[in-house]
């Protein structure tokens, strides 16, 4: 059996049960495209009147958006009544599909889950084939909210009595995620407040520094932090109640007093080291008398087989294989010489403590050893004098041993100290929750002061005045580029190309047109600056191949959209989004007319060159 249902069978099954129109959510764009290809040779054609209806709707959309007239999917859409709809398509194509759905012309749309959040068109049925979606380069389980958002597309108001959400398995589907999603309550949402450089500049433009903290306090982030702080505060109050019986006693801070006393007492009891009456050189040597070590005795040599301490005296002992084959037990002190030589020896758990073969071998080796062996240098420690312990001497300073509340302190101390530690922890976290936003804001102020956008009194400098108008991602990089005059004399194509490489944050690989040498060196400079700014702002991907796409589009006004698409493997929709985002970035540069007339002019020429063909169709 195939791992998932074939798209043609799926459509047949849906038609059979009158469950069309349907939206089929698939994992990837590729899956959507492959599903469409599956219909190439199928014979589940629509009746001619419905085909004609589709053609009529398409004709109307094409009149408005001529870019989709030649779309390769049109034949399949017309014959079968299915379409694909994902981020790789042009917005105009997506509008066409939505329009067809709204007219009820299609039986199914194959879409990626991004659609669920984005465009709003319902159907009678949604088909769910996955339980996870790709988020920032890894697959994550769908949340309950997301499952309900997807399932929410099922059932058109006024056109359906009921909607259907149908799960069909594919590899790696987890049914639990989906059933939980259908039946559960959506998750609570949390603030994602980040403080950006433009935000700091714009706030400081409108408000003096001492009014900022109340403004930050108005954020949903602070609202939620306060909620958490309140929970902690309540816990803290509880702890305060529990601490009631542990108030001041004979001494006001009896907990700390007892804690120190207790510590000292414990340390005292610990200092009774086991005394072994062995000379320091024997003790030092003993560590080296390991199995296989060649040692010298008063008479002859031997190989250590094991070391142990005798039961009665605890004195160090060794078992050794002596020259001539005798195995003797002797105190470690009889060893006169420890050589720097270890013979191989296979341990055994019983006498003679190594395997018989290795006894043979050891004997053999022992006899073959040269007359003199290098001696192992062993550092013999001086008699370690007992360190005079200041704490021990102060033990007499404590009043505790004779204090009337001693027994009460002793019994209450563990609980009281735990409660007090918790109190301290809560106080600290509440403090952190109340002030964290403000601290983050101050960190940004420090950076902006360092770069000279803010004066030491947190007013906007001349640079800060225009820098606050750049309100996009990577704003610090862009404003620093402008201050470094990086675009001096750059043509519109190069400016737009750099902007698009800053704007583009997708690492989808592909084949792209070549980048011109001028642009390449400009990008090199940008990259150097971006890396130097990386402690303060995450550097963008700065893909040269992406920049080249934009450069071609602007540099060659005769290039058609089809021609541009053919020069790269990037999907049409991605190119569109790239250029649209570049437009956004350029229009931000355009707002700097007053301070950077040259740049604003280049930007507006780039915008004019960019906005043609497909990019002109939509506002």
């Amino acid at each position: 059996m195939p791992p998932s249902i074939h798209p043609v069978d799926l459509i047949i099954a849906l038609r059979d049960k009158h469950l069309t129109p349907a939206i089929v959510f698939l994992t990837s764009r590729r899956a959507c495209d492959e599903a469409m290809q599956a219909f190439d040779h199928s014979h589940i054609l629509l009746p001619p009147p419905r085909q004609a209806a589709i053609a009529a709707v398409l004709e109307k959309v094409i009149a408005q958006y001529p870019s989709i007239a030649e779309h390769p999917l049109i034949p399949t859409v017309q014959r079968i009544g299915v379409a694909a709809h994902h981020a790789g398509h042009l917005p105009s194509w997506k509008i066409a599909v939505e329009e067809l759905m709204r007219h009820g012309c299609l039986d199914a749309v194959f879409a990626t889950t991004t659609l669920a959040a984005g465009v709003d068109f319902p159907a009678r049925t949604v088909i769910i084939t996955q339980s996870s979606i790709r988020k920032s380069r890894d697959f994550m389980d769908l949340t309950i909210g997301e499952v309900q958002q997807i399932a929410g597309r099922a059932g058109r108001r006024g056109k359906d009595l009921v909607g259907f959400a149908i799960v069909t398995p594919s590899p790696y589907i987890d049914l639990n995620v989906l059933t939980k999603g259908f039946t559960g309550h959506p998750e609570a949402i949390n603030s994602q407040f980040v403080i950006s450089y433009p935000m700091v500049l714009n706030l400081l433009k409108a408000h003096p520094l001492d009014q900022i903290q109340p403004i930050l306090a108005k954020s949903f982030a602070q609202f939620q932090l306060n909620q958490r702080a309140e929970v902690l505060q309540r816990k803290l109050d509880d702890l305060g109640d529990q601490m009631e019986p542990f108030g001041p006693r004979v001494c006001t801070d009896w907990i700390t007093e007892w804690q120190t006393f207790d510590q000292v007492r414990r340390q005292k009891s610990h200092r009774a080291p086991i005394r072994r009456h062995e000379p320091p050189e024997v003790a030092a040597r003993f560590h080296f008398l390991t199995p296989g070590r060649v040692v010298g005795f008063a008479r002859g040599r031997g190989v250590v087989l094991r070391q142990y301490r005798s039961k009665g005296q605890k004195s160090p002992m060794i078992t050794a294989l002596r020259e001539g084959g005798g195995i003797t037990e002797s105190p470690a002190s009889t060893v006169t010489e420890v050589s720097d030589r270890i013979l191989d020896c296979v341990d055994a758990p019983v006498y003679p403590w190594c395997t018989p073969e290795s006894v043979e071998e050891l004997l053999h080796h022992l006899e073959e050893l040269p007359g003199r062996l290098p001696e192992l240098p062993i550092l013999i420690p001086k008699d370690n004098e007992p360190i005079p312990d200041a704490i021990v001497q102060t033990l007499g300073d404590f009043a505790c041993p004779t204090c009337p509340s001693r027994s009460a302190c002793q019994t209450d101390y563990p609980l009281a100290s735990k409660l007090r530690q918790e109190q301290h922890r809560h106080v600290k976290s509440i403090q952190a929750l109340r002030t964290s936003l403000w601290h983050r804001f101050q960190e940004k102020i420090d950076v902006l002061q360092q770069f000279g956008y803010l004066t030491p009194t947190a007013h906007l400098t001349e640079d800060g005045e225009w820098a606050r108008l750049i309100r996009i991602d990577h704003s610090l990089l862009i404003t620093e580029l402008l201050r470094a005059d990086a675009f001096n004399g750059a043509d519109p194509a190069a400016l737009a190309a750099v902007m698009s490489s800053i704007a583009h944050d997708d690492d989808r690989p592909g084949a792209f047109p070549r980048v011109s040498s001028g642009l390449a060196s400009l990008l090199g400079q940008v990259r150097k600056l971006a890396v130097s700014l990386s402690p303060h702002e995450d550097p963008p991907l700065l893909r040269a191949d992406i920049a080249a796409v934009t450069e071609r589009w602007i540099g060659d006004p005769t290039l058609t959209w089809i021609g541009l698409c053919k020069s790269t493997t990037m999907a049409e929709g991605d190119i569109y989004r790239l250029l649209a985002r570049t437009l956004e970035f350029l229009s931000q540069l355009h707002t700097l007319k007053a301070t950077h007339p040259g740049l604003a002019d280049t930007a507006s020429r780039a915008i004019a060159a960019l906005r043609r063909g497909v990019l002109e169709e939509l506002p």
């Binding site: 088909i127 309900q148 398995p169 259908f182 714009n202 954020s219 939620q224 649209a580 437009l583 506002p619």
Partner: protein
């Protein structure tokens, strides 16, 4: 457990279980085949063997007994095991199994069809939201497809008739475009304008559509001293899809917009179902002059049913009940359960379970 034993045990498990085990442990585990996955998991288990083994055991314990028994014909045949309290101590409470066989496919499909055309009557919550907007700001949290747009249109219509400017924001350009077309049809093309980063069509119209970022920028410019005439007459700001406030990258824009929205304008936040809409309403109440009302509604206008379609084309209900059993994710239809177990069995690349 020795490594070999562990490896064998892993090999006996269905791939889905391995993937669940790999979640959070192994990156890109969904790319790996079973053999490779076991290899990676074993390598990973060196880090925290005890934790790994206990997770594995929990997962194995959780797994329904395979193959699932056919739907019980006699409902009283099984002993009531749900009364044993110690079984509840596991981290997922064991739900008392209900023993009625699931609904039949035909009754599940019943009612499918097109409702008779009738004049549109707004739901109670829609009227409530519009009425509440007279008194203050409103947060609407309703399931997808319930008709939030109706509220937006009626609220906008009223504000326009009072000669106030209305700003409607959406998170995506594509959505803005759709709404632009839709609203132009309703209000007339001269009444609706759209603002994007580099272009404005009919920018002085009473109803302006833009992305939330654009509105945020307008508000910043106003704060910086550049007076925009439209903000003076602003009567209503509609933030559609405002659950985007939780978006990791762009959520902050919604917060900024709400914080800096002029106090004379009413706010209407339209959101899909979220878990804590009261928090949003409470927050807005705490920072704005007028109280913010929450309009919440959890039943869908068009009821939803869940189904399971086997790769061989067999369709069954997913749950035992016709509708969605809210709060009971384990009330699966016996047939769906059996088919899915069979699917997991058959898609196993090797080492089928007995």
């Amino acid at each position: 457990m020795t490594t070999e034993e562990l490896e064998q045990l892993l090999a006996q498990q269905p791939i889905a279980l391995l993937h669940r085990l790999a979640r959070g442990r192994v990156q890109r585990h969904f790319r790996a085949g079973k053999r490779r996955l076991i290899e990676v998991l074993l390598r990973h288990s060196a880090e925290n063997r005890a934790g790994f083994e206990s997770d594995l055991m929990t997962l194995i314990g959780e797994k329904p007994v395979h193959p699932a028994p056919p739907p019980p014909q006699v409902p009283t045949a099984r002993k009531p095991k749900s009364t044993a309290p110690q079984r509840r101590s596991t981290h997922r409470p064991v739900e008392p199994e209900s023993h009625e066989p699931g609904v039949t496919l035909s009754s599940w499909l019943e009612g499918l069809g097109v409702p008779p055309p009738k004049t549109f009557v707004p739901d109670a919550w829609q009227e409530d939201a519009i009425a509440k907007l007279r008194e203050g700001d409103v947060v609407v949290s309703v399931p997808t497809g319930s008709g939030k747009t109706y509220v937006a249109i009626e609220a906008a219509r009223r504000a326009i008739s009072e000669n106030r400017t209305v700003i409607y924001t959406s998170p995506l350009k594509a959505l803005s475009n759709t709404k632009y077309t839709e609203f132009s049809k309703i209000f007339g093309a001269d009444q609706v304008g759209i603002l994007t980063g580099d272009r404005r069509d009919n920018g002085q119209a009473p109803l302006l559509i833009m992305t939330t970022e654009i509105l945020r920028n307008l508000l910043y410019d106003a704060g910086g001293g550049e007076i925009d005439i439209r903000l003076d007459t602003l009567g209503l700001v509609i933030l559609d899809e405002s659950q985007y406030i939780a978006d990791p990258e762009r959520g902050v824009v919604w917060e900024e917009t709400i914080i800096f929205c002029p106090s004379q304008a009413r706010m209407l936040l339209l959101s899909a179902s979220i878990g804590n809409p009261h928090d949003i309403a409470e927050w807005i109440t705490s920072i704005r002059p007028t109280p913010c009302h929450l309009v919440r509604h959890s039943t869908r206008t068009v009821p939803l049913r869940a189904g399971y379609l086997h790769p061989n084309g067999k369709l069954t209900p997913l749950f035992r009940t016709v509708g969605i059993p809210h709060g009971h994710p384990s009330h699966l239809h016996p047939e769906a359960k059996r088919l899915f177990a069979q699917y997991e069995d058959e898609t196993l690349p090797s080492g089928r379970r007995r």
